[in-house]
Amino acid sequence: MSSSKDETVAYYPGCALEGTAQSYDRSTKAIGKALGLKMKEIDNWNCCGAMEVKNIDPKLQTYLSARNLSIAEDMGFKKVMAPCNGCYHNLKKAEFDLANDPKSVEVNARLSKKAGHKTYEPGKVETIHALDWIKDSVGEQGIKDKVKGGLKGLKIANYYGCMYTRPRHIFPEKDQGENSESIDKPHYMDDLLDAAGAESVEYPLKTSCCGGAHTLSDSDTSTKLVLNLLQAAEACGADVIATECPTCHTGLEMHQIRAEKVFGKKTNVKILYFTQLLGIAMGLSPRKVGVHENFGDALPLLKDKGLV
């Protein structure tokens, strides 16, 4: 799967990065530029079919994701980079279903024809996560070479969420030897942030549920799940939880506030996208990586640690 530094990837921001997760979009673009990586947004992209469509008809979701892959292929790309875990998961699932499920292939071909665009063929375009993009194209050494102030003194709990590695069969490139990502214990974020000078703590809930899906149907359970994640991070000694998923990130930030208001439980750990942390390590300003766009104010901590 390895990406070279010179290869331009198709960028699929997805809906969240244009809404609640603008800081993730901003910081992904900023560190890409700082690292000399190239990307181009997919023309006229559409929703990956994340939640609502899936609940009506999973085959329609597969088509929606496949349309994006098809456009990327038409634009001449071999890789689509998706920073959002939900999008990444759905695009990977479409790749898998269209390579293995004849019914999905048939529905996708029919809808593509009806919509008047080329039908996606499995294997032509591969979806990668923003973590893969950075890890495979510049790696830890590339980060070390670009680090200015670094993240020295910052303890981080790396939180991957539930969709980055599940279900395991749609991620055939993971668990493929020493340098590949692990399904059971993902480590790419740990590797990159450690290379940027941070100290990643052992965090036992790094792939546990954030309660994101329960936010509307059962807010109290979501708040309790998040509170447990926050308290566990603090118990591990973390100053910051690094995230890579807009749903997890927003949930952690919002329920941190709600936990204090509703349950009277205050936690101090800050929540930042891993791209924001890498940007700060490379000397980009907090504004450049959208720290001001997060709900929580991480600036006092970053100043206190001498990082900005």
């Binding site: 009506i56 149907s217 799940l225």
Partner: protein
Amino acid sequence: MVTQPENFDELLARLDEIEGVDGAYALENAKGLAGELLSLGENVLQFWAISRDEVPTSDKKEGFVILALHKQGAKGEPSFNACRETCREIVFQHNVILQAHEPKVTLGALKLMIMVVRHLALFVSGKLEVSGLGEFCCASKSVRQKSDIQDSVELTGTV
């Protein structure tokens, strides 16, 4: 003699009690508490199995009942794999406590084990809470009944 919790409220209350014990007591009884926490994790998955009209397995997977119970719970329910690593972390912290020689390590693992068991309990109780509405997990399957989605048949020809 430890009483088995009959529901999630009792189970979560017991976790709070264990969290509240003083350090000296926790150190002296660390192995027993680790065993009880492992058993509470098993109870969570037993509640899940019972809610699905299944008899909770007493088999072991990789030497642990909790891992076999998770495997049972995930059968036909792929989204239940979202707590697979949580169960494995419970086993890991349990083993750390049994092997630890330093008080700091023992107490740290106990604290984390309580939190991991609590996470499992909250995750599973949340799934049961919404079970009347369908499956709302991020890795979910369709929540609607087939009869509700006839409209999509014309479009995709599926169902």
